[in-house]
Assembly symmetry: C2
Amino acid sequence: MDKINWKLLRALEKNARLSYSELAKLVHLSAPAVAERIKKLEEQGAISGYRATINLEKVGIPITALVECEVYRTKERAFKELVLSLDEVVDCYNITGPSAFILRVAVSSMSCLDVLLERLIDLSDTKTMMIMSQPVDREMPLNIEKVTSSLP
Amino acid sequence: MDKINWKLLRALEKNARLSYSELAKLVHLSAPAVAERIKKLEEQGAISGYRATINLEKVGIPITALVECEVYRTKERAFKELVLSLDEVVDCYNITGPSAFILRVAVSSMSCLDVLLERLIDLSDTKTMMIMSQPVDREMPLNIEKVTSSLP
DNA sequence: ATTGAAATTACCGTTGA
DNA sequence: TCAACGGTAATTTCAAT
């Protein structure tokens, strides 16, 4: 994990469709050298994929919310299964504390949210927070150069 | 927004580096036709970008947490500025309710988290939840075919 | 369908442990 | 001396018109 790899990660975080030759210019290497480095980053799992960023509003899913779920002690397993099966769940964080889970859900209408919450409420105490905006959305912290202690 | 566009979005959500010809095979169209569709999706903002997914653990940032911030009434502006300036904040959700913000932060050590929280505490009541795992992480809900009411 | 780029492979040179 | 890394060139695939 040298400086060049950080630069590549940062560039691909901004635009995953950059060509190897464009990346090569950025880091002053040849295209095959860059391809080689990226292949290694993928193999070691540092890059786990490439995804299009989708604007849910523009696509007819205008409502997103965070749902904090305090799962009932006896319902843990059922809750996990339910969450994995729910189409509307886009992120699920398993967290410390009694709450246990925070979900990010995306729905096309409030009535959809309602039926979703009904299902969660059977297995947990829920607290719903509507998302009004998301002023920060990144893959990596910005301060990575401070962490430039080399890694494996 | 017909069925083919949904298929393209779904494919690019899984792998943003697919070539037009690969996408074309998936949807049984020609490569130029697919390129045209994707250009339109980008122009209308349905696809807002492409980003590499980075495994923070593998890259020396093993600790992530959610921080719920109830911002003090008089400190709203200062809080927003602070959050935008903090390297460690990877997501910031502006939510309904008195809390106002939930941050997702990524740090390389607990002491980094400590100094970060110190700064937030000046401007808000915070509640920190360590993330232990993230069993779901998607761009879109899965149920989109149900929403196949055509859009603009 | 054609032209120009880009990806991929193979091969060679340099460096440093 | 060998392993890691990068460069160049040639082939194939892709993008764009």
